[in-house]
Amino acid sequence: MNHPLIPDWEIRITNFGLGYILMCLVVAIGATNTGNNGLYVVLAGMLAAMVVSGVLSRRNVRGVSCAIEPIGEVVATRPAALKITLENHLRATTAQALFFLHEGLPGPLWIEPLKPGEKRQVVVEGVFARRGVVRRPDAGLLSRFPIGLFRKYRRASLGGEILVYPLPEPTPMPEIPPEDARGGRPHPRRRGGGFDIRTLRDFVPGDDPRDLHWKQSARMRRWIVRERDAERDRVVVFVIDNGLSDPADPASLEAFERAISRCAAQAILLLSRGGEAGFHARGVKVPASSGRGQRARILDALARLEPVALQGAPPFPPLRRGDLRRVVT
């Protein structure tokens, strides 16, 4: 089991701290037994240093806020840009000896001393090990300041949540059979980037100039464009069975995660070709659609998908007629 980088306890004593306390005891015994006031001065100084260290350490870490915000999409096991916002709320003290910890970083990240009231933004590349929703990041600040008796932690805050998309696993896309082969419902003709001309219409800003129908435009004395059909005319609904007989079984979980990765790859491929895709799982339904918005919706659903016990699992959402159901395993 992996230990979290930022423990729930805000403060942990270090090995050096334990040694320091032990040395205090040794010096105390020596001073008491000998009556040597030189040792008493050293002992009093050591105890005072502990108090000062505790106060400074507390101020140093508590005075600094740390917020994480992803820049762009976050994909599991791939470097993702994270914006870390650090602010020293102390009016008179420089926050120093701070390290930023994150599971995606190869090691602690040194933060240059923050002057009183200073706000600083740092962009780092972090790697999230697995897909999912991160609401409480295992990231934050660590400091042994001032003299290393204690490690003090402060968990970073999140503005919202970080969605870690699954890493698409490239798989060959099975050919989508034509609609006639299934005898499904006729698909409404849609605008798209296919070869067949759907209709002619007036030009509106944003239309591709290559679609201008020159002859008709000359004839009508206004700009006329060709509107084409979508390249694909079948709606594909990707399905993952998230009902597992034993949700704790590592092998089953690994297969489940691979299915999610494959599903992500196929959905992205289809949508990138202008196709229309949806996603179903037990208790999860992403209605079919196309475009970048749909890509985000499907990846969002895949990121949030959790395995459930097969017994008592909710059923799959019903499929619309004519939609092609593709179960990804």
Partner: protein, 681 residues
């Protein structure tokens, strides 16, 4: 290959250099007190410092020394052979042998860092060196050492704490950035402030291990040997500026009575050496009971209202004789059992070098104690002849003394460097040199009075002092040592007579220049260190707690008296006082709020005022309402103020979010627009 925990990775070269750089400075400073405590041989210390300097230099170059394990083993084994030789043959003593071993180990550790854990071991060895230095040093310079080590130790520990999270060598600027200088100084200062009460509160179960060295010149030591004093060394002692004692009085009214402190009485003179008359044990009045008066029974009691309490911190407490003012009573010692002699001298058992005691003092005429006087048979014949020649025509003791005093003042010179005497110093003083210090004058007067049949004796002690630099105490130094005469002139007891010319009398109370005070500061710190730090023990601790308790009691008493006073004041006066206090609080917080408002920029202040106006007009305005919305809402309800509100918001946004500060014209415009809006609202 054995299974188990994998060995920790070796420290990279850069990180090793950083460890050495962080530890080098405390490594050099740690054994410094061993120089002056003779806790290590100077050669070993010089070798150690040179080795640390070499390690530091190589680390600075980025090429830290890395001694191989084989070489280290050979050197370590060789050192054990040397250690055996040192113990068996050189007889350096345990402290030196241990110090040398620690010095060697510290160098070995710093030169062979392989794993991060070894940096901690090196730190531990340095700490042990610090302990050895701190525990063996009894010099006041230890205070400087403690402060310097605290600062250097803090910096080193801060840097090691940062290094603990680096696997590779961090850039140099990272190490330099921690800790900031101001924070390090503040932290050490606060820690020092905390150290003081902790030091005094930590329980003491044994008497102090080491006391301050008797920092006395031989002459001063001899002069303060209260059962024997010779004329030659007394002058040398008077040249010393060592702090002998400090006096605190609770009321200035008794200041005049505590300027002359009596230490010892001498009645036996032989060839320039005064000794005390032997007393039988039965003569000792032991112990002096608390409250017992140390004045003769016939002496009048101190007048009421002219009585005060004197506390004396006697630092050079070599022979247990106390410096006490005339007419002292109610002697209270912090430790030990005082024994009173018939001549009023008080001695305390024990060999402590410093002691604190107190007594009650009146402002009466000073009178000597007891009846012991110089045996006339011990007066040298030359002195007897001299006395007869000088005062043979007189019979009244008072007149005899007056003649002697006038003669000494008129024909003798006061000097701390009398010409060397051949034979009896007093005879030499009277007949040939005609120059001497106070003890010569007092000895000559006492012997001449005795020769003329007047009971007399020599008294040593101190006269005068100077106001301390750090406190209002009167500090008595070596140059305040003094000798005078006690003589029974009229059969009513011993009167204090001082034949020394005015030029030779120490100043009663002198206010010294700031420069002199600064130069004397070191002595006072030394006195404080010896007395309050090095010699601090359980009795001192009890006294500290007792003083704290008394302070608390008096504070509680003050509070209750204030309560009573509050009850007694008329209600109207109480009301006025309450109102004044409320006004003061109001002014304080009002000023604070005004100051905070002044810190805001003019557009922000105007925008906040606009929000307040909007709240007054529209009701509660949540903080989430953005500036443009505030302007829009005002425009809706107050169309005439629309333009002003929008202008204020525009300038505010430009200032707060665009970084465009308004000019003076815009600030005036803001003010005018806000006034128009206020009128409209």
């Amino acid at each position: 290959m054995s299974a188990g925990r994998p060995a920790p990775a070796e420290v990279p070269s850069g990180l090793r250099a950083a460890y050495v750089l962080a530890l080098a400075l405390p490594a050099v400073a740690a054994p410094l007190p061993l120089f002056w405590t003779d806790g290590a041989s100077p050669f070993a210390l010089a070798l150690y410092v040179a080795a640390v300097a070499l390690l530091w230099w190589r680390a600075r170059r980025g090429d830290p020394v890395r001694v191989s394990d084989g070489f280290l083993n050979v050197v370590g084994l060789s050192y054990f052979l040397f250690l055996a030789f040192e113990i068996a043959r050189l007889h350096h003593g345990l402290l030196r042998s241990v110090s040398h071993l620690l010095l060697f180990t510290a160098i070995a550790k710093l030169a062979s860092l392989k794993r991060p854990g070894e940096a901690r071991t090196a730190l531990l060895v340095l700490f042990l060196l610090t302990l050895a230095s701190a525990s063996s040093s009894t010099h006041v310079a230890s205070l400087l050492y403690f402060g310097a080590m605290a600062l250097m130790g803090f910096r080193a520990l801060c840097r090691l704490a940062v290094l603990a999270d680096f696997e590779e060598a961090p850039p140099e600027h990272i190490l330099r950035s921690v800790p900031t200088g101001g924070l390090a100084l503040t932290a050490v200062a606060v820690a020092a402030l905390l150290t003081v009460p902790l030091f005094y509160a930590l329980p003491r179960l044994r008497s102090p291990f080491a006391l301050g060295p008797a920092r006395l010149e031989e002459s001063l030591s001899t002069a303060l040997t209260a059962d024997r004093v010779d004329l030659e060394t007394f002058g040398a002692a008077k040249r010393s500026d060592r702090v002998i004692l400090s006096i605190d009085v609770d009321t200035p009214r008794i200041l005049g009575s505590v300027l002359r402190l009596r230490e010892s009485v001498f009645t036996v003179y032989r060839s320039g050496v005064w000794t005390r008359a032997p007393y039988a044990k039965s003569d000792l009045r032991r112990p002096v009971a608390p409250g017992e008066r140390l004045v003769p029974a016939w002496a009048p009691p101190p007048r009421r209202g002219a009585v005060g309490r004197v506390s004396i911190d006697l630092n050079l407490f070599t022979n247990g004789f106390l410096f006490l003012p005339y007419g002292a009573s109610g002697l209270r010692m912090e430790r030990g059992f005082p024994h009173g002699y018939p001549d009023g001298v008080v001695q305390v058992g024990g060999m402590r070098r410093s002691i604190r005691y107190g007594a009650t003092v009146g402002s009466g005429t000073p009178r000597g104690f007891g009846t012991s006087a110089i045996d006339p048979a011990l007066v040298p014949s030359e002195v007897r002849d001299y006395a007869l020649r000088l005062t043979g025509d007189l019979s009244e003791p008072a007149e005899i003394y007056r003649r002697i005093e006038e003669h000494l003042n008129a024909h003798f010179v006061y000097t701390l460097d009398p010409p060397p005497a051949s034979g009896d110093p007093v005879v030499h003083f009277l007949l040939r040199s005609k120059a001497g210090h106070c003890e010569y004058f007092a000895s000559a007067a006492a012997l001449m009075l005795t020769a003329r049949g007047v009971p007399a004796r020599l008294v040593t002690g101190s006269y005068g002092g100077e106001t301390g630099f750090l406190s209002r105490s009167i500090v008595v130094r070596g140059d305040n040592l003094h000798a005078w005469v006690e003589a029974d002139l009229d059969g009513t007891g011993f009167t204090v007579l001082d034949p020394t010319p005015a030029a030779g009398l120490p100043a009663a109370t002198r206010r010294v220049s700031w420069l002199t005070r600064l130069t004397s500061l070191g002595r006072e710190i030394e006195f404080f260190y010896d007395r309050r730090i090095l010699g601090f023990d359980s009795l001192d601790q009890a006294a500290v707690f007792d003083a704290a308790r008394q302070t608390m009691d008096s504070a509680a008493g003050a509070v209750s008296s204030w309560k009573q006073a509050w009850k007694d004041v008329p209600s109207a006066a109480g009301g006025w006082a309450l109102a004044a206090a409320a006004a003061a609080v109001f002014l304080f917080f009002g000023a604070d709020r005004w100051r905070r408002r002044q810190r805001l920029s003019a557009p922000t202040r105007a925008y906040l005022a606009l929000r307040r106006l909007a709240s007054r007009r529209l009701g509660d305005l949540p903080a989430s309402v953005p500036p443009a919305e505030v302007a829009r809402r005002i425009s809706q309800t107050l169309p005439t103020g629309s333009e002003d509100a929008e202008a204020i918001v525009r300038i505010y946004c430009a200032d707060a979010f665009g970084g465009v500060s308004p000019g003076s014209l815009q600030v005036r415009e803001l003010r005018e627009r806000l006034q128009r809006l206020r009128r409209a609202v």
